[in-house]
């Protein structure tokens, strides 16, 4: 009885937000698929999602959502939709004990709520960390509630059941870590490792992260009470192990060689592949083309924009942040930088090759003028080295140089070479 009442209460809450029970079960099916479990487990998923929302059986997982160096885009990506969908409602209603943006409270009382959650729910809550960790100026580059951001992270992460690094900034610094990175931004996993805190970090990249990815991960943690299967970058394996290119709806046009070379062209209207205008799909691992965005209405490539690789984030290398490795977005290559000199790889390669070609042409004129083109110059009568060493036996061309020259003759040979070079 109690259970029924709880469930009906739960569906009332959904309905009040314009989500039908059918929508909710569809979401659970999607979560089961994304988590790689059988569709038969949908009822368990539903139960897990309900408990995540906080209605069931004291199995509550509170969430602390800390914003570090972020643009709040990851929060916005699910909080600012005009009509809430099932996934948004789930995220809206988790036991979100602390969130700078979404909590009604602010200031001292909110900080106190956070402290309380950390103390009372130690080992049970999930820490969602949005934005980059700023190490600059001994952690003072980010200071919230009179505490350096790095200290806040350590305290919250130490006692968490698991840490979710949400968005590319949290994964490896993201655009916060792009050149010149004065605040020394880096990712959560990298920082915790350096600080010696051994806590599982689940990396969910993206700029912003897709709310469905977070929903799925939270549901998995509740459902299995363990961290979901992760790949070698600690990203959920089922979401971030294939490239955008692998699952792209325009892939057929790629294979056919049908491309958009210019925006506003006929090819663009035909929905051809965006590879020549800089699409990063072939080197970006994410399932965007499958889960899609904004309640599966569309996604970047469907809406006509090339992938800009926002999910590229190697958690152990903040220099490999997606902005650094992908800008300028509409070129096939990133820019390279030596000091203040910024250039495209192709320009340097072509210039160098052109110089070599020009040098050869000039050299060719030299060969022509010196009459060497018809068989080369006349051979020297005797090799200079033999001339200089009349006492030595003449060697053979099939005696290969020993790896470790030990005899004095070799050393003398070297000396002679140097001498010859000077002359």
């Amino acid at each position: 009885m109690e259970k029924e009442a709880t469930i009906s209460g739960f569906y009332e809450m959904l309905e009040a937000r314009g989500v039908t029970r059918r929508d909710f079960m569809k979401l659970c099916g999607a979560i089961a698929a994304a988590a790689g479990v059988s569709q038969l487990t949908i009822p368990q998923v539903a139960e897990a999602v309900e408990s995540l929302i906080g209605n069931a059986k004291g199995n509550l997982y509170p969430v602390i959502w800390i914003e570090a160096a972020s643009c709040t885009g990851c929060t916005e990506s699910f909080a600012q939709v005009d009509t809430p969908d099932a996934a948004t409602v789930v995220l809206e209603m988790i036991s979100l004990n602390y969130s700078e943006t979404l909590s009604a409270g602010a200031g001292f009382s909110l900080e106190e709520a956070k402290e309380q959650t950390i103390k009372e729910c130690a080992g049970k809550y999930i820490l969602v960390y949005e934005g980059a960790v700023l190490e600059g100026w001994e952690g003072q580059a980010l200071r919230v509630a009179d505490t350096p951001g790095t200290e806040t992270l350590i305290e919250a992460a130490e006692n968490a059941f698991a840490v979710v690094a949400l968005g590319s900034c949290a994964v490896n610094g993201g655009w916060m870590a792009a050149y010149p990175n004065p605040s020394q931004a880096c990712g959560v996993q990298q920082y915790l490792k350096k600080a010696g805190i051994d806590k599982p970090v689940i990396n969910i990249p993206g700029c912003p992260a897709n709310p469905e990815w977070l929903t799925t991960v939270l549901a998995q943690v509740i459902l299995m009470e363990q961290v979901p299967a992760l790949n070698d970058e600690n990203k959920p394996a089922l979401m971030f192990s294939q490239t955008v290119h692998d699952n792209c709806e325009r892939r057929g046009h790629f294979e056919n060689g049908e491309f958009v070379y210019e925006f506003g062209s006929e090819e663009e209207a035909l929905g051809y592949c965006l590879y020549p205008v800089g699409c990063r799909g072939p080197q970006t691992k994410s399932n965007c083309g499958i889960v899609r965005w904004n309640r599966r209405r569309s996604w970047c490539v469907e809406s006509g924009a090339p992938c800009i690789g926002c999910c590229e984030a190697n958690p152990s290398n903040s220099g490999q942040n997606w902005v650094e490795v992908n800008t300028p977005f509409f070129k096939r290559h990133r820019d390279l930088r030596i000091g203040d000199f910024v250039f495209q790889p192709g320009t340097v390669a072509l210039t160098l090759t052109g110089l070599v070609a020009a040098a050869l042409v000039i050299h060719g004129f030299g060969m022509k003028i010196s009459g060497r083109m018809d068989g080369g110059a006349d051979f020297e009568k005797v090799r200079k080295w033999d001339e200089k060493h009349p006492d030595r036996a003449i060697g053979h061309y099939d005696v290969v140089v020993e790896k470790v020259p030990e005899d004095s003759e070799d050393q003398e040979t070297k000396a002679e070479e140097t001498e010859g070079g000077k002359a």
């Binding site: 070698d232 192990s241 290119h245 692998d246 294979e255 056919n256 060689g257 049908e258 491309f259 590879y275 990063r280 072939p282 080197q283 690789g309 590229e312 190697n314 152990s316 290398n317 490999q320 490795v325 096939r332 290559h333 990133r334 390279l336 790889p345 390669a349 160098l352 090759t353 070599v356 070609a357 050869l360 050299h363 060719g364 030299g366 060969m367 010196s370 060497r372 083109m373 018809d374 068989g375 080369g376 110059a377 006349d378 051979f379 020297e380 005797v382 090799r383 200079k384 080295w385 003449i394 053979h396 061309y397 099939d398 005696v399 290969v400 140089v401 040979t413 070479e417 010859g420 070079g421």
Partner: protein, 230 residues
């Protein structure tokens, strides 16, 4: 007519074949590589990628075969002679050749008037030919780590992480292609600038008369004007 006679012993038939395979696959790789980097030609991408991967594998296998053959096949240590030695000995740096490096550089810079005597492969040539197999292996590694079906192999992924991601790997692969192009410019130029006889021997296995050389005495001992006769 100052050059040495070009005898088939300098380039036995297996090496003529591996050289042809190198040339053809490199040209295919460069043309398709350019169009994979940026699809200049429409309706070509699928073909370009297939040909590129195939030629990459062919080039790598051919490189391995060529290195193994160097230990099996015998070839002449210099031009102008039919004396045979194990081919790898003509390939690796030779004790009695390396002191000619200065002479070669001076000759090419017009600082030395007469032509240096040397082994079949001059010192600068030897350096570049030894670098090419290494370059082919690095090129294959960078290429395979960009190729979707196998890019997740741990041995490839380790390299990708080392260089800072797939974009960096792509740029390295791209730059290395220009190393091949620059090598080909130099190679074609130096092989042909003093006459096309070496090219005729290498591609058509056609001999050409010239000076006869005694590799034991390092001196010109005569002249063979009889062309292809053995």
């Amino acid at each position: 007519m100052a050059h040495l006679a070009h005898y088939r012993e300098a380039h036995p038939i297996p090496f003529v074949i591996t050289h042809w395979i190198n040339l053809v696959s490199m040209i295919f790789l460069i043309v398709t590589g350019f169009s994979i980097h940026f699809p200049f030609w429409p309706n070509f991408m699928g073909v370009a990628r297939g040909v590129h991967v195939l030629c990459g594998i062919v080039l790598l296998l051919n490189c391995i075969v060529r290195v193994i053959l160097a230990f099996v096949v015998k070839s002449a240590p210099t031009g102008g002679t039919r004396v045979l030695v194990a081919d790898y000995k003509t390939w690796l740096p030779q004790k009695d050749n390396r002191h000619q490096l200065g002479a070669w550089i001076k000759y090419y810079l017009f600082l030395k008037k007469d032509h240096p005597l040397s082994a079949k492969l001059g010192v600068p040539q030897k350096i570049s030919y030894l670098a090419i197999p290494l370059l082919i292996i690095v090129m294959a590694y960078t290429g395979f780590s960009l190729w979707g079906p196998i890019m997740d192999a741990p041995a490839l992924k380790a390299g990708v992480n080392l260089v800072g991601g797939l974009m960096s790997m792509r740029i390295i692969h791209y730059f290395l292609m220009y190393v091949f192009i620059i090598f080909m410019f130099l190679h074609v130029y130096l092989a042909n600038v003093e006459g096309f006889a070496p090219t005729k021997l290498m591609f058509l296995w056609r001999e050409h008369g010239g000076l006869v050389y005694d590799p034991d005495q390092h001196s010109i001992i005569g002249e063979d004007d009889e062309g292809a006769k053995h």
